[in-house]
Subunit: 376 residues, 2 copies
């Protein structure tokens, strides 16, 4: 890795920010050491073809699934190609949650752990089906709080239509794990025909957001700092699979969905720009931000474009579809404040620019340091 | 939950022991709140039928997999029945690793995280395919150590024939997470015809173990305590999928495999006795224990029957198969010291007894407290 020549290089909070440092750690360590065609997709969930699941090139019999043999000529696993998209595929994603505090306005670590993983599946076009639940609990954690978290998981699973199918419990000594860390891994099914990915953005496409930004990050920060605003700020934490399926039902040619969590909208748009090698231009005035979040950000010195969301998504869509998709979004409870916030452009490939209210245009960078640690 | 009436009840180290307290927490909280037929299998991995994956009773089309319609008359998910075992199924398992220290003789947290999850899939008869990798890293953790762990993951993945397909990285502040916690979730495929489960043990069956017990727990404990024995004790940490597949190739009618990790052989045998409602009788003198582990256990006051293993498995097999299976085990590098250690009996259903060298017989209880915390 790039820091490999520095024997005393250490992991920093920024490595968990979702911004530049995280991306470099993933590329220079995890992908370099563990790379394979599925991992290298680097989308929110890994999408695996049936033929790979059954062991492409392995001795396992495949005859049960007629048609699978078509792709079986390749040896070794690879990312699913266009041909395989004609079949059901399996999507897998994982997320650990270390949010502090565990309970906050609009949610808690349990709801967050279900929504985060459900949304990573949903933005890949998968129908979320199953979750695994790994809990690392601090010795002395009140069982009553643990039960509150589990009940919140149950309620959110019901809302999202997923089931917890297996789990694991570890207990660590007092002073470790800050009460509770949760890992959820999700398994979903991608229906035939769905092809989504950041690399599919094309100049001329519209950039949509499903609602106001910055709510989750500012809600958690307020809770942690013990600030109560005049207008309360609530986390937007919500499962988006219903909204995404409603959109795909009318517009199967969406280029990509992405949920702007750590690193906020700025990090997500930079990822899409980098993957597609197109430019993205955002109209600052078009980005929905609640008055409460805007006020809190101004007072505390944050930019809402970099603050995490847990119930919002970006959609890159063909321009001709934008109006229809916005209509669908706005009719859904989790998309009422949806807006068109920009477009994909030929200029400045791989970069995101922000057109400000007074007509200027500046680069919207990938975030670097860690502004708001432990928000998910 | 049973502790629900005690408002100040707290999570204790014993809740993570793999023994009685863990089982009660799982039953009284997780299963009670989140229960569904797949979760309630309570095997090492959840096994899911194709028809469930594609959404039993949902509107998703199923026509692609001829034959799936046979089971599609049921509505809502349920555990796969005998009929579904005629098809490939998906197995999913999750494990978080909080071992202390991170590096020990014979392994490290990376090798452990791959083996633990691979083995949970393998004992269910699944061919392990894919892993997800969730890392919670302490701020200040040396990148050089992180790289050692990732390289160990790579090497163990190659040995086991699995790929890391997606991951997640979180960073927590100094003083949290003891350097590094890892969650691995595994996805595997169960070939048609495989039916394994603790509930399948029958009186008359033989109980086999693939080698010496107690090595992992005593290796980690020695490392933690800074003890160096005259004869070194090494963790047995190893992927068992190759060994298990070799056995299934000659004896597809094995009743069940189980890897005796937390809680050791005693906890595993108690689980099988409870699931099958048969008794299990173990010959103490037949259980292989290395001299080094036996000596260390005597000196430190541990019973090897309760000490964790990470590269061993119990097999419950029809008596007539025992000899042939032992031959297969002993030809495999991870089964050289395999032994027949007891039998399933009609007496004392649900309980395990130990026949001692001097001819006595005593109950081998499910472990209660936490003897050796943080060994996986």
């Amino acid at each position: 890795m790039s820091q490999g020549n520095q024997p005393h290089a250490m992991v920093q909070m920024a490595h968990g920010s979702g911004g530049g440092a995280t991306h470099r750690l993933i590329r220079d360590l995890f992908v370099r050491c563990l790379g394979n065609p599925i991992l290298e997709q680097l989308n929110d969930a890994a999408v695996i073809a049936w033929v790979d699941l059954q062991g492409r090139g392995a001795s396992a019999p495949r005859a049960e699934f007629p048609g699978a043999g078509v792709e079986a000529s390749g040896v070794g696993s690879r990312a699913p190609g266009e041909g395989e998209a004609a079949k059901w595929r399996v999507a897998v994603t994982t997320d650990s949650f270390v949010v502090k505090p565990l309970f906050f306005r609009g949610g808690d670590i349990g709801r967050l752990a279900v929504c985060g993983t459900v949304n990573d599946l949903a933005v890949c076009g998968a129908l979320p089906r199953y979750l695994t639940l790994g809990m690392i609990i601090e010795e002395g954690f009140p069982l009553e709080q643990l039960e509150r978290v589990v009940l919140s998981i149950r309620e959110t699973c019901r809302e999202a239509g997923v089931q917890v199918v297996t789990g694991d419990t570890k207990v660590v000594e007092r002073g470790q794990a800050d009460g509770l860390y949760i890992n959820t891994t999700g398994v979903g099914m991608v229906p035939p025909g769905i092809q989504l990915g950041g690399e599919r953005a094309r100049p001329g496409d519209a950039v949509l957001i499903s609602g106001t930004i910055g709510d989750h990050g500012m809600a958690v920060l307020s809770e942690r700092a013990g600030i109560s605003w005049e207008t309360s700020i609530e986390s937007d934490c919500a499962p988006l699979n219903g909204l995404i399926q409603a959109i795909l039902a009318v517009a199967p040619d969406v280029r990509c969905f992405r949920d702007p969590t750590r690193g906020g909208l700025a990090a997500t748009l930079n990822e899409i720009a980098a993957q597609s090698q197109a430019g993205i231009r955002v109209e600052e005035g078009a980005v929905p931000v609640s008055d409460a979040v805007r006020g809190a950000c101004e007072m505390l010195g944050f930019d809402p474009l970099y603050v995490a969301n847990e119930g919002k998504m970006v959609a890159i869509v063909p321009e001709a579809r934008a109006g229809g998709i916005l209509d669908v979004m706005r009719r859904h409870p989790y998309g009422r404040m949806a807006a068109r916030i920009g477009e994909v452009v030929r200029e400045h490939p791989g970069m995101v620019t922000l057109r400000t209210g007074i007509g200027g245009e500046r680069i919207l960078d990938m975030p670097e340091g860690e502004m708001l640690p432990r928000i998910c």
